[in-house]
């Protein structure tokens, strides 16, 4: 079960941690999710016309000016949290997909608790904006419903995302980022739409390490391509170097597009993974 009792216990821990953090910052947390929705901003006065809501009449101004004026307000500004999920075949290896979904759900829960509107999107489809903590089950359902697809196409996932309104907008991308160019395009697109872009780089330690078997018949999880290898010490070292280079490249890629990269891995503690993303 993806969102099991342990997951819910982790949410409780997260709730306490966030409350403590916010208290420590005098209630004005710097978390990108900390933007309460529904708040109205005073915009100015105008003369009362028939049909105006009498509740908006500024009686203090009437006492001073002896004329009916009404207060005008700007439209409500809400925080938005967009969860962009890579549900490609590569994410199915080493349980990365499950990890990404659980961390995304935890982030969504935090967002809803903070009054933000939360939506999730993937290449195969996206949810609508969900607000209010009570509707968290809807978010879970939406996350689970995001279709798994063979290929990673983050740009399309971004494109499918619902329109983000005004206010603080945060996007979190969950991907192993194997395809650099599409990842770059997706991050660029998100940067244009969101004020904060976080890249949750989901990588299993085992996929950065050559297996112990001396001979391998590797099959690409997405393309199905096959590669037969015999591994010796030299080949293993070469793979290790390549893996390290890959991780650094993706860090650079994220930085280039103004995104912060946080590494998460299957088996990570959920609370710790969420903390790495939001702080």
């Amino acid at each position: 079960m993806l969102f099991d009792a342990e997951f819910r216990r982790s949410l409780e821990v997260l709730k306490r941690l966030v409350a403590r953090a916010l208290a420590g910052r005098g209630g004005a947390g710097r978390s990108p999710l900390r933007e309460r929705g529904g708040r109205v901003e005073f915009a100015g006065h105008r003369a009362y016309v028939a049909g105006d809501d009498v509740g908006n009449i500024d009686w203090n101004a009437y006492a001073r000016l002896e004329a009916l004026v009404v207060k005008e307000f700007e439209a409500p500004r809400e925080a938005h949290l967009l969860l962009v999920l890579d549900r490609s075949g590569s994410m199915e290896c080493f349980s990365k997909d499950r990890t990404a979904l659980r961390v995304a759900a935890a982030l969504g829960w935090l967002g809803l608790a903070a009054g933000a509107r939360v939506a999730c999107t993937a290449r195969g489809g996206a949810s609508r904006w969900i607000s209010a903590r009570e509707r968290f089950p809807e978010l879970l359902e939406a996350l689970e419903r995001t279709p798994q697809d063979g290929a990673a196409d983050l740009p399309q996932a971004v494109e499918r995302a619902p329109t983000i309104g005004t206010g603080r907008r945060t996007a979190v991308v969950f991907s192993d980022l194997y395809e650099a160019e599409p990842a770059a395009r997706a991050l660029a697109a998100l940067r244009r739409r969101a004020s904060t872009v976080i890249c949750a780089h989901v990588l299993a330690p085992d996929e950065l390490k050559a297996p112990a078997e001396p001979a391998l018949l590797l099959k690409d999880a997405e393309s199905g391509a096959v590669l037969q290898l015999e591994l010796d010490t030299r080949a293993r070292a070469a793979f290790q170097r390549e893996a390290e280079r890959f991780v650094k490249d993706r860090e650079a890629l994220a930085a280039k597009h103004g995104a912060r990269l946080a590494r998460i891995a299957p088996g990570d503690d959920l609370v710790a993974a969420v903390e790495r993303i939001v702080t």
Partner: protein, 429 residues
């Protein structure tokens, strides 16, 4: 190089099994991987490894090879030599025909010939033996007149002084057979006629020389005559141990006298007659001496756990017949005793030849020459098949020599070293 336990070499079949196992272990394992892009950098590097000999496999094969060799007990030529002493009864009863038509003696000698490295043995003239059993009269050419003079034999000549250390047939004249007892020099003919119907001849064979330092010669006295027990140190470092089965003769053992051999001048003492009293090999009374053999003298001559088989006695007629089965026993780490069927009685004393040679250290298997249909001496009671404690299985104990043992240890140590390398390689991998 020979092997003590060649069956251990069967362990070498593990090597092809290891190769197969290695191939099986190296078969490609299919795995789904998130992306092959990281592997592309490795792709070019793995090709040479396919052609490379796998060091781990080499280590494994080398370890198996060494262990199998060590377990097989390799014996390197030159390091394993030891002497084999073969005692062969060439007495009349050894002329008994076996099932295959050969005499027991022929069969015995044929087996002796099979001993590897048997380059030098002092044979007994088979004609002599044949003649001794077929002629009624014998002429003994004594080298030492007192040996035969006045001992019930007609001495027709006088031998030169010396030791009777060899024997040969000189001539057959009518119903007379002329023997020569060889001395230290060539046989000499002496006009001595033995009037008795039977003659007992014993030979003592010099075995001096040809031994390297450190070799041990162990001489076993097979009868009750203390005068036989003379040993010689042919070289300063030669260690000679004389033993006797007769407790009352131990005092007579002497080491260091010029001649090593079994001399039996006292054989012809007319008053030295053994009369058995019990009818069973539990006690013998030796008349004419003040010695009484203790029970068990001939009850299987025990040497380091091996025995000489049956010993039988018969009351009244002075017959003590000894029929042993072949035995193989390592007396110590360098001396192998081979015993072949021996007939031993007082009326027709066995002629003993001693074969001493240096052979390669191999496991000599001498089949039993038993089952001979002997014509027993008069009065001989064949008790073969009677359940006696000494009729047990042949001891087959084997001792390793120092050389062999050390070689095995060296090989084992090498194997351990290879295994250590293997472990290190595994850790690296």
């Amino acid at each position: 190089m020979s092997f003590t336990w060649p069956l251990a070499l069967l362990g070498l079949v593990l090597i092809p099994l290891l190769i197969l196992l290695d191939r099986w272990r190296r078969r490609p394992r299919a795995r789904v991987w998130p992306s092959l892009q990281l592997w592309r950098a490795v792709e070019g590097l793995d090709a040479p490894s396919k052609r490379r000999v796998q060091p781990l496999l080499l280590y494994e094969c080398a370890a198996v090879l060494l262990l199998a060799l060590a377990a097989a007990g390799p014996v390197v030529s030159g390091a394993e030599e030891t002497e084999i002493i073969v005692l062969v009864d060439v007495g009349p009863h050894m002329q008994a025909r076996l099932k295959d038509g050969r005499t027991a003696l022929e069969a015995t000698l044929a087996e002796v010939e099979k001993i590897p490295g048997n380059k030098r043995h002092i044979d007994v003239d088979r004609d002599l033996v044949a003649a001794a059993t077929s002629f009624d009269e014998h002429v003994i050419l004594a080298t030492n007149r007192p040996d035969v003079e006045g001992k019930g034999y007609t001495v027709v000549g006088r031998a030169v002084d010396g030791h009777n250390v060899g024997i040969d047939v000189v001539e057959v004249k009518g119903d007379r057979l002329w023997f020569a007892l060889a001395t230290d020099g060539p046989p000499r003919e002496v006009d001595v006629q033995v009037g008795d119907r039977r003659v007992t001849v014993r030979t003592g064979i010099p075995v001096e020389g040809e031994f390297s330092g450190g070799t041990t010669i162990r001489i076993l006295d097979l009868d009750n005559y203390g005068h036989d027990n003379e040993c010689k140190l042919s070289r300063p470092r030669l260690k000679v141990i004389c033993e006797t089965d007769s407790p009352f003769l131990k005092h007579a053992l002497r080491v260091g006298v010029p001649i090593l051999g079994l001399k039996d001048r006292s054989r012809f003492e007319p008053d030295l007659v053994i009369v058995t009293t019990g009818g069973e090999p539990t006690g013998y009374v030796v008349h004419g001496t003040d010695c009484v053999a203790s029970p068990g003298i001939f009850d299987g001559l025990v040497l380091d756990g091996c025995h000489w088989g049956d010993a039988r006695s018969r009351e009244g007629d002075g017959l003590l017949s000894y029929k042993g089965r072949a035995l193989v026993a390592w007396d110590d780490e360098r001396t192998l005793w081979l015993g072949l069927p021996v007939h031993f009685d007082w009326d027709e004393h066995a002629t003993l030849a001693i074969f001493i040679d240096r052979v390669k250290r191999t496991r000599v298997k001498l089949p039993l020459v038993g089952d001979a249909t002997c014509d027993p001496a008069p009065g001989f009671v064949d008790t073969r098949g009677v359940d006696r404690p000494w009729n047990g299985p042949m001891p087959t104990g084997r001792k390793t020599t120092t050389d062999e043992s050390s070689l095995a240890w060296i090989l084992a140590a090498l194997a351990v070293a290879v295994l250590a390398l293997y472990a290190r390689a595994m850790l690296r991998a």
